[in-house]
């Protein structure tokens, strides 16, 4: 069965993972810019990282028949250094003419600090000015509810981005409702311990319906499973879901969200 993983950090994964993804039916991945596990410390390091995302990773994916798309930003964790963040933000607009860049992401909050909020707002404003899609990272664990509500406040109060052009990612049982009620798309991340299991993601789709929802592995350098989306598909099949519902959340929904990108070519 064909599927899309709309959030996965392939720069952190071995090439064997591309092979496994392809064998499981993955046709397309989208890779948000994120924290690499250590603070990079210079804008030049981010310039190399963006080039890696835009130029190198699509070639690696293409060898396995997978289309690789990406998002650019300064992530929430490194946004704590506001001067560095502003240097990095200046690198982004000239790269937004590349056909495989979907927009600005994953911007958001990590520990819900004032500096993080400042940099989030500046990137949100940039996305509005340049008519770019936005992919939002929401915080982990005890910070998630508060941070998600703060993020929704900032998007609403900026008022210059249509809600359907924003994907609120890593939603869980306590944050999915406010994200959907604000008119955004929402992503559920399937992680072994934190975030969401395949069964809980399926529960949320049963509870809220399949519209504007998608699932992702967010596979990265930490404990994560790049094969999580097919595992969730197996859970949906075991619950006797109609095939069209499974395809909607694993293929059609991410495609519909991505296709709003002004550079999109199907």
């Amino acid at each position: 069965m064909s599927y899309i993983d709309p959030h996965i950090h392939m720069v952190s994964r071995v090439t064997d993972d591309y092979q496994r993804l392809a064998q499981a039916g993955c046709e397309m991945v989208s890779e948000p810019a994120f924290w690499a596990g250590f603070d990079r410390g210079s804008a030049a390091a981010f310039a190399s990282y963006f080039r890696h995302l835009i130029e190198f990773e699509p070639q690696r994916a293409a060898r396995y028949g997978i289309r690789h798309l990406c998002w650019l930003c300064i992530n929430a964790k490194e946004a704590e250094d506001v001067p560095l963040a502003r240097e990095v933000i200046c690198l982004i607009p000239p790269l937004l003419d590349r056909p495989n860049v979907l927009g600005i992401g994953e911007i958001g909050l990590n520990k819900n600090t004032r500096n993080e909020a400042t940099v989030f707002m500046e990137q949100l404003s940039m996305a509005a000015d340049l008519n770019e899609l936005v992919l939002v990272h929401t915080p982990h664990l005890e910070d998630k509810y508060k941070g998600t509500r703060m993020i929704l406040d900032m998007i609403r109060e900026l008022g210059r981005i249509a809600p359907e052009r924003v994907l609120i990612d890593h939603v869980e049982e306590h944050t999915i409702k406010p994200a959907l009620e604000a008119g955004h798309w929402a992503g559920m991340t399937l992680y072994p311990v934190t975030k969401c299991t395949p069964a809980r993601a399926a529960d949320m789709i049963e509870g809220y319906g399949p519209d504007r929802l998608m699932i992702n592995s967010a596979g990265d350098w930490g404990p994560s499973n790049p094969m999580a989306v097919p595992e969730c598909v197996a859970e949906m099949k075991a619950r006797a879901w109609p095939p069209q519902t499974i395809r909607k959340v694993t293929y059609e929904n991410p495609l519909a969200f991505f296709s709003q990108c002004k550079r999109w070519k199907g």
Binding site: A117, V119, M121, M126, K144
Partner: protein, 85 residues
């Protein structure tokens, strides 16, 4: 969609196993040195609140447990000024 009976049949052993994992972990804390000192730890009291939420029988138990382990949100939090490039 599966019936309630089918869901129970499919998930019972997993539910049972997860409850025993929780019980064993709480036992492990209790018999470890300094158990008395962690009883007031917010994580431990949060576990107690979460277990009570499970017993209340209300819908959306998962959401209730998530909220037990969540920081509060103040709608009047201090916003940054809207940025400009």
């Amino acid at each position: 969609m599966l019936s309630a009976q089918q869901v129970l049949d499919r998930n019972f052993l997993e539910i049972r196993a997860n409850l025993i994992v929780v019980a064993a972990a709480l036992d492990r804390i209790d018999r470890a040195a300094g158990a008395d000192r962690v009883r007031a730890d917010p994580r431990v009291t949060g576990i107690g609140k979460a277990l009570k939420a499970l017993m209340e029988g209300a819908p959306n138990r998962a959401e209730s447990v998530q909220m037990v382990f969540s920081e509060g949100y103040d709608p009047n939090w201090a916003r940054p000024r809207a940025g400009s490039r």
